[in-house]
């Protein structure tokens, strides 16, 4: 119980957004807290996200066919609030190693 903070980052495929996108990187930090609510835990906090990508190699052949690559960046925040079972076995979401 108490304060909770962690960093995360991974590449994600944004091809579903537009075909010209490929992988971009989303990194961020969650800062929040966990409070005891009997059989439940209440998790609240805010995540700061950072998106980074480079527009390059539009022909996808490993060389620049004219033009200059340029970075694409952005960041945003999102609030988070959830109540979860303390006993992970009682939650359809919480079972670790439960295949």
């Amino acid at each position: 119980m108490g304060a909770l903070s962690y960093d995360f980052g991974a590449p994600y495929d944004f091809g579903d957004v537009a075909f010209s996108h490929s992988d971009g990187v989303v990194r961020g930090r969650f800062v929040g807290r966990v409070d005891d609510r009997g059989a439940m835990l209440r998790i609240t906090g805010e995540t700061t996200f950072e998106f980074t990508d480079i527009f390059e190699d539009p022909l996808d052949i490993g060389i620049e066919a004219g033009g200059t690559p340029y970075p694409i960046t952005g960041n945003w925040t999102a609030r988070f609030s959830a109540e979860v079972m303390k006993d992970a076995g009682r939650s359809e979401y919480g079972v670790v190693g439960g295949r």
């Binding site: 052949i61 960041n75 670790v96 190693g97």
Partner: protein, 184 residues
């Protein structure tokens, strides 16, 4: 011959079409080769376990965890890892594979998250990871030849954890700059 000019036009059109087809085929060969090689990417962790990018029709490739022999698949669809010289905790898109994996036994350790982080030494008080990085990192940021932006922040290198044996790991490419990202 009254059809000379039309023949010339036709011939030019045929050559243009042939050239265009050739260009498209050439592009397909290069792009296909790059696409195919993207599924040969892998990262060997200090423990000997292997993260490898695998072909997947439904996703733009996926990352799987393999045992120290490089062949036995332990976990699929890895999103984040936290790892040290023996263990790796995997966060998988498929929750059934989320858990702690031990290189000494090449298997998953059947404990919950809290116990897993305790026994592995990966626990960082207040959250985060106490392995080679302090953050939860996607395998795609761990490649030997990683280029920006596909790198973990330099600020995540857990140099303060003296129990980590592979100090050369901290010399790998990383993304300089301030961390965490500033709020807007």
């Amino acid at each position: 011959m009254t059809y000379g000019p039309r023949s010339l036009t036709g011939a030019l059109a045929r050559y243009a079409l042939l050239g265009l087809t050739g260009l498209i085929l050439l592009w397909a060969v290069f792009a296909g080769a790059r696409w195919a090689t993207s599924f040969q990417e892998s990262v060997t962790l200090q423990s000997g376990m292997l993260l490898s990018r695998e072909f997947d029709w439904n996703r733009h490739g996926r990352w799987d965890l393999f045992a120290t022999n490089g062949r036995a698949r332990l976990a699929r669809d890895v999103e984040f890892v936290c790892f040290n010289d023996r263990y790796v905790f995997v966060q998988s898109y498929d929750r059934g594979f989320t858990g702690l994996y031990d290189a000494d036994t090449d298997s998953r350790v059947p404990v919950d998250y809290s116990d897993a982080m305790d026994i592995s030494g990966l626990d960082k008080p207040g959250g985060g990871c106490n392995g080679y990085f302090t953050g939860w990192v996607g395998p795609g940021l761990l490649l030997d030849d990683g280029r920006p932006p596909f790198l973990p922040p330099c600020a995540w290198r857990n140099v303060d954890n003296v129990a980590l044996r592979d100090r050369a790991w901290f010399e790998r490419p990383c993304a300089p700059g301030p961390w965490p990202p500033e709020r807007q």
